[in-house]
C-alpha cells in the first residue's frame, strides 16, 4: 500500500467556485488530489483542472531564478525573449535592486502618472492588497487594475449603480432552492463545472426549470425548459422585452416595487418600445419564446438569474447587466433564499482581488479614491502624510496600455501574474504599446507572452507553495495553504512585494514607513480588515475549517450567505431606463460572421498554467466552433483548417463543426498563442465600465490548407460536448 507523506488541505487555484482540495504529497510531489465529501462548496466533486491540473508546478519550462535581460530594451525597440539565452540569471538582491532603480527613476523623472501595475486575480487577497498598497502608498498612483476589467467590470458597475453591491447576492449551492432560473452568457459546464453539476441536480432532482439565453447551444440547453438563441449582443433587447411582457401582463411584484425600489415610472416608460416583435427583429429570438420566458420567470415563487461574461464583455455591458437587474427588481426575485442576481466570477480570486482594491477607482472595499474620508482613512492606515494619497481615479487595464507612448502616459508597468499579451483585445495594438514601455517587470511562474517583453523577471511561488486566502464567487474567504517548498529560488508574491517595497521606500527617502515587515500573510489580511469593514471579522483562525462569506462585520459575525434581505446597500434598488444599442462592429458583407470568444473546460485564460500542464494533452490546439450549415456552405469539413480574419488580424485553426455554434456565429477560445483569438477581437470599450467587447466582433471565414496551421500534428479525437 502506498501512503502519502502528508495531505494538505487548500483551495483550488482555477475558477471562482473555490473547491476544497486535499493535496496528497510524497517525495515533494503532488500525486493525487481529492476533496472531502463534506466540503461546503463542492461536496467532494472536482473538475479536470482541480483534480489533475496541478502539474504546471513542475513544468520544465517554469522559471525559478530571477532574471534580467542581457541587452537593454529601449522604448519602441523591445522584442520578446522566450529563450533563456536572452536572459541573465541574477540574485534576488540584484533583481529587486534593479526593479527598484528603474521604477523609482521613472517616478522621479515623470511623476506618479508614469507608473502602473497589473495585479492578479489568481494571486491571494494578501498579494493583491500588498500590490495596490505598494503602488498607492509609494508611487502615489492609482493606475492599478487587474483582469476584473476584462471580465465582470460591467456587472460590478451595474450592480453598484442599481443596488450598491458588487458580488453574487446568493450562494451558488442555493440553486437547488430555485423554482426557475435564468442562465445567460455563461457556459457553466465548462467554466464553473461544479456549479453546473449543482444546476443539473437542481433540475433533475429538485424540479427547477431552466431558461437559457445564449448565442451558443451550450450543454445546459440539454437541461433547459426554454432556450432563447439570441444573436451576440442582443441582451438588452431580449431582457427588456421580457420586462415589457411582465409590465403588459401585470406580472410584476407591486409590493416589492413600492417598498424596495425607485425610478420605476421612468423605467417602465422606457420599456414600452421593447415589444416582443421589436426584440425578435433585433435578437433573432422567436417572440413567443420571449413571452414564455417572461411568464415563467415572473410567475415563479423563487427565481434567480446567473450570468457570466456574455453579459458584461460588451460595449453595452453595463446596460446588459442592468437589463437583468431590472428584471429582478420588477419581480422581487431578490433578497430571499433561492432568488437573486448572481454574476458567476471567473477567476479563483477575482472577487478577492476586487475587494482588496486592485482597481483604479477604489481603495480596498470599494471605497472611492476620490472620496476624501476614504483617502484619509487609508493615509492613516498606511502611515502616510495627510493629503499624500492620489485622489485622482487611475486608468483601467486597457487604458493603461493605450496611454503608453502618449505624452503624460504610462512608462513603467509592473505585471504580477497577468498576461495582457494574450488577454487584451486587438493584440496587434497591445503589442505596439508594450513595445513602447520604458520599463516592464513580470512576476510569474513562466515567461509568458507578456513576460517575454520584460526587463526583469521575478519568479513567484505557485499557489501550492504559499499561504494566503482566496475569496470565491459567492464571497467565501477560504484558506490557501503551503503544501510544497517553493521550487528553486521562487518566492511567494507577498514576500517579493514586501522586499521590493522596502527598497523603494528607502530609495525614495520616505521618512515614515507604510509598514512592510509582515511575518505571515495573516497579518496582511488583518490589516486589510482594518480598512475594509466587510472583512473586519475575517481571521485565519476562523476559516481554518470552513470559509466565511463576506460581509463579516466583526469577529463574532457568522458571515452572510445571501444579501439584501431587508435593504440594499444603496437603500432602494434603482430601476434604470434602457435603450438598445448595437455592438461596436456588426456583421456585414465583407465580414459576415459574428465571432464570440471564451474558454474551454481544459484550459485557463492566457494559458500560462494549463498549457504547461498535462491538461494541454487533452486539448492541444485551438478549435473554432462553426455551425454545420455554415461549414457546408463554406466547404470546411469537421477538423478542416480555416482562416478567420477580422479588420484587425487573421489566424488559421481547425474547425469543429458542431450545432453548439448557432448559424452565423463562430466561437474561438482565447488560450492558444498559436491562434490567439484576441488578434481578432475589437478594442472598443463600454463607456461606463471600460470593458472590451470580447463577445462580438465581425469576421470572415474561409477554408485554409493544412500547411497554414501552426501545428498540424496537434490533433486529437474528442467525444465530450
Amino acid at each position: 500500500m502506498f501512503h502519502p507523506d502528508q495531505i494538505t488541505r487548500t483551495t483550488c487555484p482555477f475558477c471562482g467556485v473555490g473547491c476544497t482540495l486535499d493535496l496528497h504529497i510524497r517525495d515533494n510531489t503532488i500525486y493525487r488530489v481529492t476533496s472531502p465529501f463534506d466540503s461546503v462548496v463542492n461536496h467532494g466533486n472536482l473538475c479536470v483542472k482541480g483534480r489533475f491540473g496541478y502539474d504546471f508546478i513542475d513544468s520544465p519550462k517554469r522559471v525559478t531564478v530571477p532574471l534580467v535581460r542581457k541587452t537593454h530594451q529601449a522604448p519602441g525597440a523591445r522584442h520578446p525573449a522566450f529563450d533563456l539565452d536572452e536572459w541573465r540569471e541574477v540574485s534576488w538582491e540584484y533583481a529587486l535592486d534593479y526593479a527598484t532603480e528603474r521604477m523609482t527613476g521613472i517616478y522621479q523623472a515623470h511623476g506618479s502618472g508614469a507608473i502602473a501595475a497589473y495585479s492578479c486575480a489568481k494571486a491571494t487577497n494578501e498579494d493583491n492588497y500588498l500590490l495596490q498598497k505598494l503602488f498607492r502608498a509609494l508611487f502615489r498612483t492609482n493606475h492599478i487594475d487587474h483582469c476584473t476589467r476584462l471580465c465582470h467590470a460591467a456587472s460590478v458597475v451595474a450592480l453598484q449603480m442599481a443596488v450598491g453591491s458588487a458580488a453574487m447576492s446568493n450562494t451558488a449551492a442555493e440553486v437547488i432552492y430555485n423554482d426557475v432560473f435564468i442562465l445567460t452568457g455563461s457556459n457553466v459546464t465548462e467554466n464553473h463545472p461544479i456549479i453546473a453539476n449543482q444546476m443539473k441536480a437542481a433540475i433533475e432532482k429538485h424540479g427547477a426549470r431552466l431558461i437559457v439565453v445564449d448565442p451558443r447551444r451550450i450543454e445546459m440547453v440539454n437541461y433547459a425548459t426554454l432556450w432563447l438563441p439570441e444573436k451576440p449582443g442582443a441582451d438588452v433587447a431580449v431582457f427588456s422585452a421580457m420586462a415589457h411582457v411582465i409590465l403588459e401582463e401585470k406580472l410584476y411584484n407591486q409590493e416589492f416595487i413600492d417598498a424596495r425600489t425607485e425610478n420605476f415610472a421612468a423605467f417602465a416608460e422606457s420599456m414600452r418600445v421593447f415589444t416582443p416583435e421589436y426584440a425578435e427583429a433585433l435578437s433573432g429570438v422567436d417572440r413567443q419564446l420571449i413571452v414564455a420566458a417572461a411568464r415563467l420567470y415572473a410567475e415563479a415563487r423563487n427565481a434567480a438569474i446567473y450570468w457570466a461574461l456574455g453579459i458584461p464583455e460588451s460595449t453595452h455591458g453595463t446596460a446588459n447587466a442592468l437589463s437583468l437587474i431590472n428584471l429582478a427588481l420588477l419581480t422581487g426575485h431578490i433578497g430571499r433564499q433561492g432568488t437573486g442576481l448572481n454574476p458567476l466570477r471567473g477567476q479563483n480570486n477575482v472577487q478577492g482581488a476586487s475587494d482588496a482594491g486592485a482597481m483604479p477607482w477604489h481603495y480596498p472595499g470599494y471605497q472611492r479614491v476620490d472620496s476624501e474620508p476614504a483617502a484619509q482613512k487609508f493615509e492613516a492606515l498606511w502611515n502616510i502624510e495627510p493629503g499624500g494619497l492620489n485622489r485622482r481615479p487611475g486608468l483601467t487595464t486597457t487604458e493603461i496600455l493605450s496611454s503608453v507612448g502618449s505624452p503624460g502616459g504610462v512608462r513603467s508597468l509592473f505585471v504580477m501574474g497577468e498576461n495582457p499579451m494574450m488577454s487584451e483585445p486587438n493584440l496587434n495594438v497591445t503589442r505596439e504599446h508594450i513595445e513602447q514601455l520604458e520599463f516592464l517587470a513580470a512576476q510569474d511562474l513562466f515567461i509568458n507572452e507578456t513576460g517575454a517583453y520584460a526587463d526583469v523577471f521575478l519568479p513567484a511561488a505557485s499557489w501550492a507553495e504559499k499561504d494566503g486566502t482566496f475569496t470565491n464567487t459567492d464571497r467565501r474567504v477560504q484558506r490557501v495553504r503551503q503544501a510544497l517548498p517553493a521550487r528553486g529560488q521562487a518566492r511567494p508574491d507577498w514576500v517579493i512585494l514586501c522586499e521590493l517595497a522596502q527598497r523603494i521606500e528607502e530609495r525614495l527617502g520616505r521618512t515614515s514607513s507604510a509598514g512592510w515587515r509582515y511575518t505571515h500573510p495573516s497579518e496582511v489580511l488583518g490589516e486589510m480588515g482594518r480598512g475594509v469593514p466587510e472583512y473586519a471579522g475575517v481571521r485565519y483562525e476562523r476559516i481554518e475549517r470552513e470559509g466565511l462569506q463576506t460581509p463579516v462585520w466583526d469577529e463574532h459575525h457568522p458571515g452572510t450567505p445571501f444579501l439584501f434581505t431587508d435593504t440594499f446597500p444603496r437603500g432602494r434598488g434603482k430601476f434604470h431606463p434602457l435603450e438598445y444599442s448595437p455592438n461596436a462592429e456588426m456583421p456585414d458583407e465583407e465580414y459576415p460572421f459574428y465571432l464570440s470568444t471564451g474558454r474551454v473546460l481544459e484550459h485557463w485564460h492566457g494559458g500560462s498554467l494549463t498549457r504547461h500542464a498535462s491538461l494541454n494533452e487533452v486539448y492541444p490546439e485551438a478549435l473554432m466552433e462553426i455551425n454545420p450549415a455554415d461549414a457546408a456552405r463554406l466547404g470546411i469539413p469537421d477538423g478542416g483548417p480555416a482562416r478567420v480574419t477580422s479588420r484587425r488580424g487573421s489566424l488559421v485553426l481547425r474547425a469543429r463543426v458542431t450545432p453548439k455554434a448557432n448559424p452565423g456565429v463562430v466561437f474561438i477560445p482565447f488560450h492558444f498563442t498559436e491562434a490567439a483569438a484576441n488578434l481578432l477581437t475589437i478594442d472598443a470599450l463600454d463607456p461606463q465600465a471600460k470593458i472590451p467587447e470580447y463577445k462580438a466582433c465581425a469576421v470572415r471565414v474561409v477554408p485554409a490548407g493544412e500547411e497554414d496551421l501552426p501545428d498540424p500534428q496537434a490533433r486529437l479525437k474528442r467525444g465530450r460536448y
Binding site: V33, F37, V48, R720
Partner: protein, 231 residues
C-alpha cells in the same frame, strides 16, 4: 418535526427518522456494519451484499444500506448465517480480484476468518491496465464492481454518462461504450470516479508511476507526451 421510528438493533432500542436505512440507524448506536460498495456521497445500490443483516420476519438476508427502518423492526447484525454470507462474499472477491490496494476489504476478510484460497481453482480477473489518458489509469483486475464510478459519472454528480457495465456474468466489467478510449467518450476527466474508487482500480497517473518505482523527480520533470517520446 416528523415522528421518529422506533426499532431494535442487536437488542438495543433506537429511533430513526422515516426514510433512514438500517445502516444509518445502526451507526447511531455505534454498531459497525461492513460495506464495500456503499459510499455516503453515492446512491446506495446493495450490490456487494456485505452489509446484509437479519430482520425478524424476513426470509432472506436484508442489505442494510438500502433497507429502510420500519416501526417495531427487530434487526440482528451478527449471526452465524450473516457471518457465513459475508465471509463467502469476501472469499470470492479475494479469489478473483487483486485486493492488494484494498486494505479495508482485506481487514474484513481477516475479521470474518475468510480463507483467500478457498476457491483456489477459480479464474482470476486478468486484463491489461488501460492507460489511455494523461490523468488516470484503469486497472480492472482490482475492480470489485461496486458501481460507485458509474454512479458519480451519472446522476450522483457529473451527468456525463461515460461509463457503464459491459459484458455479462463473470465477465462483467466497467467500461466505456464500445470500449472507446476515454478521450473519445463523453468523459470530461473530472475524476469523480477516481475519488470514490475503493480498491485502487482507478488511480491517478502520478500515483501509478510512483508505485511502479519511477523516481519522483523524473515524474515531475516530464509530461506524458515526453515520456511517450522517450520510449
Amino acid at each position: 418535526m416528523t415522528d421518529l421510528i422506533d426499532l431494535t438493533i442487536d437488542g438495543q432500542a433506537v429511533s430513526a427518522p422515516p426514510g433512514a436505512t438500517i445502516l444509518q440507524a445502526a451507526a447511531q448506536l455505534g454498531i459497525d456494519i461492513p460495506t464495500i460498495c456503499y459510499h455516503e456521497a453515492c446512491t446506495a445500490n446493495a450490490l456487494c451484499r456485505l452489509c446484509v443483516v437479519e430482520v425478524q420476519g424476513s426470509r432472506t438476508l436484508v442489505p442494510a444500506c438500502v433497507a429502510q427502518v420500519s416501526p417495531g423492526m427487530v434487526v440482528t447484525t451478527r449471526s452465524e448465517r450473516i457471518d457465513r454470507s459475508r465471509r463467502t462474499i469476501l472469499e470470492m472477491l479475494a479469489s478473483s480480484v487483486d485486493l492488494s490496494d484494498s486494505p479495508e476489504i482485506l481487514a474484513r476478510l481477516q475479521e470474518y476468518g475468510g480463507d483467500p484460497q478457498r476457491f483456489d481453482e477459480s479464474e482470476r480477473r486478468a486484463m491489461p491496465v488501460i492507460d489511455d489518458n494523461p490523468f488516470f489509469v484503469r486497472d480492472y483486475e482490482k475492480c470489485v464492481l461496486c458501481w460507485r464510478c458509474v454512479q458519480v459519472c451519472a446522476e450522483d454528480a457529473q451527468y456525463a454518462f461515460a461509463i457503464n457495465f459491459s459484458g455479462r456474468g463473470y465477465h462483467t466489467q466497467i467500461n466505456t461504450f464500445f470500449e472507446k478510449p476515454l478521450q473519445e467518450t463523453t468523459c470530461v476527466f473530472c475524476g469523480q470516479c477516481v475519488g470514490v474508487c475503493p480498491t485502487g482500480a482507478l488511480k491517478p497517473k502520478r500515483q501509478y508511476l510512483l508505485e511502479q518505482g519511477v523516481p519522483a523527480d523524473e515524474i515531475r520533470a516530464q509530461t506524458r507526451f515526453e515520456r511517450r517520446r522517450r520510449r
